[in-house]
């Protein structure tokens, strides 16, 4: 092969790649290429097969058919370690830092796997400085904040000296400010000549950084082109962003006549997570029949609040009263019976069980679901009726979220708590979930929802409370708070 031919061919070629898991085709006859020095992004609705593509490129999954070539050389049949040495490094959608090791040691691992010898430590410190973690070199990786762990994964991937860097949802879970910082670092990485292929949900980031965008849908390529082109492509808009009508209409529901009773009252609630005082005196009241949204930036204590109400964590001070009954510090299994039901973050399916069994387990505390109750949740989520016999672990993220909510409803909640129901879901699915939530509420269930995606939460909530650093700092009707600069300020810092 002549030198000029080498220069002309793309760095990465994915050719007619196919992968199936049982009956599900995750990647279906997919082809694309990434040129040297390019920044290409893959977008697409949840379950489109994006992460599977990364797992196929990096050898984590074997190919069923097709080929992946790096600089003209086939990677077929090679394992993850060999492919890493061939020049492909990656980060992970769900963080995989080496938690028991310091930040510096995390970065040393790939350097030493390449026998960098004495220069390894200096190079590790250089990379930590590049991502802005020079002050954290000796800290344990698991002790770093979520945002810093993302940066650490980036530094670690760069230490593998990649020709091609794969980033899997690198800004998911980051605040706006952290995302901006991350994008700045990416610009520096790119200036060094690294080719980047990124999966990302945050369309704003994708449009800002990419040369080219590949849109995946149901395992294959739906469209490809410059960001602006793809953005205007009507097929893409429908597949990825959903019909405009899919967004639930503003509810315009007024508070019930007369003063609504407080169903759940929280006073001065304090809870610790490890060394952190995650809840620092939370005062909150939830009215009968409303949807209350608790919003706030990452690390504000939102999940700890719900977890403490549901009995997952013990409070160290404060009081929780449900319909006049003191339920402070009840363990989880008793909190459920008292009527406080949590739909946890990341859904927590019983993956190996069918949808029907998952739902039955929701009704465990009161001896099983009555047929009428099952009918009610199937009416709310018709898709679950179709998928009754399917293993929950094989459902898409949105469907799993529906199962999680339905399972929660079958526990007969006085108040239903939802932790980040939109997490990891494409906008269309988010709209679907929130529309379902509005129907659940219309059926008479009181709902408290914690959301990072404030816009989605505001659309359905009656009232909103802003949680910052373990305290409620603002609260009021959703309409009034939507315009409150305090909300934007909380997210943008």
């Amino acid at each position: 092969m002549s030198a000029s031919a080498t220069r002309a061919e793309p760095l990465l070629e994915v050719e007619r790649v196919r992968k199936r898991f049982g009956g599900v085709v995750a990647v279906d006859d997919l082809s694309f290429a990434v040129e040297r020095g390019a920044f290409v992004s893959i977008i697409g609705p949840n379950g489109a097969g994006k992460t599977s593509v990364f797992n196929l490129i990096t050898g984590a999954y074997p190919l069923d058919a097709g080929d992946v070539r790096l600089a003209g050389r086939s990677l077929r049949g090679r394992g993850p370690s060999a492919i890493s040495h061939a020049g492909i490094a990656r980060t992970f959608q769900t963080l995989q830092v080496f938690g028991t090791m310091s930040a510096r040691e995390n970065v040393l691992v790939p350097l030493e796997a390449r026998e960098r010898g004495r220069t390894a430590r200096a190079r590790a410190d250089e990379l930590l400085a590049l991502v802005g973690l020079d002050g954290d070199a000796d800290r344990l990786a698991s002790a770093l904040s979520f945002g810093r762990q993302r940066l650490l994964e980036l530094a670690r991937a760069l230490a593998a000296e990649p020709r091609l860097l794969l980033l899997d949802e690198p800004t998911s879970g980051l605040s706006r400010a952290e995302t901006r910082a991350f994008v700045d670092v990416l610009a520096r990485v790119r200036a060094d000549g690294t080719t980047i292929l990124m999966i990302e949900h945050d369309v704003r980031t994708v449009m800002a950084v990419s040369d080219r965008v590949i849109v995946m849908h149901r395992g294959s390529k739906l469209a490809e082109g410059a960001p602006a082109e793809v953005q205007r492509d009507p097929r893409v808009i429908v597949a990825y962003l959903g019909e405009p009508a899919a967004v639930p209409p503003p509810r315009g529901k007024l508070a019930p006549s007369g003063a609504p009773a407080d169903l759940l009252v929280v006073q001065g609630l304090v809870a610790r997570r490890g060394a952190v005082r995650a809840l620092d005196g939370v005062d909150l009241s939830v009215r009968e029949g409303e949807i209350l949204a608790v919003v706030g930036p990452n690390g504000a204590g939102k999940s700890t609040l719900l977890g403490t109400l549901a009995g997952w964590f013990a409070p160290s001070a404060g009081r929780v009263v449900l319909a006049g009954r003191d339920v402070t510090g009840l363990p989880a299994e008793r909190a459920v019976r008292a009527g406080i039901v949590l739909v946890p973050e990341r859904r927590q399916m019983f993956d190996a069980l069918s949808v029907a069994r998952n739902l039955e387990l929701g009704a465990y505390a009161h001896g099983g679901a009555a047929p009428a109750e099952l009918e009610r949740v199937f009416a709310l989520f018709p898709r679950l009726r179709e998928r009754r016999a399917q293993r929950a672990g094989t459902l898409s993220g949105g469907e799993q979220q529906m199962v999680a909510i339905a399972r929660g409803l079958l526990a007969r909640p006085r108040v239903l708590l939802l932790d980040e129901p939109s997490l990891g879901l494409a906008p269309q699915v988010v709209a679907e979930i929130f529309a379902a939530l509005a129907r659940v509420n219309a059926d008479g269930t009181t709902v408290v929802v914690v959301e990072q995606n404030a816009r989605a939460a505001f659309a359905v909530a009656d009232r909103v409370a802003l949680l910052e650093r373990g305290r409620i700092t603002a609260g009021g009707s959703a309409a009034a708070l939507a315009a409150d600069p305090a909300i934007t300020a909380a997210y943008l810092g």
Partner: protein
């Protein structure tokens, strides 16, 4: 190295040096056994504490080393050289068995090593020509200094604890090295380690082999000290007991397995005495039963209340709380 760690090391080293001067024969004999157990436990801690895999075949490698040394001596090989033979046999068997087995991880790997331990016991029982079968073999000489045979407790004590010292130094050096870091990375996230270019199976195989070599040498020392070996010393229970020593003392520290071996051996001795007093008719059977029950309970209690082990807990209590990972791996951190 942390001050707490240094103090602990100094205490152990001083105790080991001082003990012979007490002229307490019983204590000395016990310490020989502790030393031999500690060496095998040190090796095992590399798999449990560094690579994050539980191996239930350490007694098999211990026995393998014992039989290899005995057989070599009987064939006229100098006992000191026979120690090397034991190490080589341990290496060869661990490499051959480990290469296919280490495709597995977690509980599956543990179960596979359990199978290995059981098979080894069957071989020790049945390969009568080499092992003497269930009745065992003796008469294979002893370590020597010049023409002087090293018989008795004091020489065995010096040899065993010298080996423990060297083994501990080696393990510390390994943990602080690039290989050690790669192993810890594998334990933290095998997926990420492989994606970063760590050759997972090779690194694990090295750790497995080294762990087996520690056990084989310990077994050979045991053979020369006891003068007679039989399969009853290399049972599945004994493999579990090595795991108890490591977990009890602290798998991620170097001192842990040594302290664990000491505590284990002392408790086991006390239980044997207790069994003898309570059930004089069947002291041996009663002792074995008591040990299984007691160490089962201890293992559960340690895992539940002190997962970092005794030494790990001491380090955590006295000053190792800093958010740092130390070269010799005594990180106190338990996330969440």
């Amino acid at each position: 190295m942390l001050r707490t760690t240094r103090v602990l090391y100094a205490l152990v080293v001083l105790a080991v040096i001082a003990l012979p001067f007490t002229r307490n024969g019983y204590a000395l004999a016990t310490m020989v056994v502790i030393g031999q157990n500690a060496l095998a436990a040190l090796g095992l801690s590399l798999m449990i504490g560094t690579a994050g895999e539980v191996v239930l075949a350490q007694a098999a490698f211990f026995g393998l080393g014992a039989y290899a040394a005995a057989a070599a001596s009987r064939h006229g090989i100098d006992p000191w050289l026979a120690l090397v033979v034991a190490a080589l046999v341990g290496t060869a068997v661990a490499a051959v068995v480990g290469w296919p087995t280490l495709r597995l991880r977690g509980h599956y790997l543990t179960l596979a090593t359990l199978g290995l331990g059981v098979i080894a016991k069957v071989v020790f029982d049945e390969a009568g020509g080499l092992t003497g079968g269930p009745s065992g073999i003796g008469d294979f000489g002893a370590l020597h200094l010049g023409a002087q045979a090293l018989k008795g407790d004091l020489p065995a004590y010096v040899v065993a604890w010298t080996a423990v010292g060297l083994g501990a130094l080696g393990l510390n050096a390994l943990r602080a090295s690039a290989r050690g870091r790669a192993l810890r990375a594998i334990a933290a996230s095998e997926t990420a380690a492989a994606a970063m270019g760590v050759r997972v199976r090779t690194r694990k195989l090295e750790a497995f082999v080294l762990s087996a070599v520690y056990a084989a040498v310990a077994g050979a020392l045991y053979a020369y000290y006891a003068g007679y070996i039989s399969p009853t010393s290399f049972t599945f229970e004994q493999s579990v007991f090595f795991v108890v020593m490591v977990v009890l003392g602290g798998a991620a520290t170097t001192l842990g397995p040594v302290v664990g071996a000491a505590l284990f051996t002392l408790v086991a001795t006390a239980l044997t005495a207790l069994a003898g007093a309570l059930f004089p008719a069947n002291a041996q059977g009663a002792a074995a039963a008591l040990q299984v029950v007691a160490f089962g309970a201890i293992l559960v209690a340690v895992v539940r209340f002190m997962p970092q082990g005794i030494v790990g807990a001491l380090l955590e209590r006295f000053g190792a709380r800093a958010e740092r990972t130390l070269p010799d791996g005594e990180q106190p951190e338990r996330a969440r």
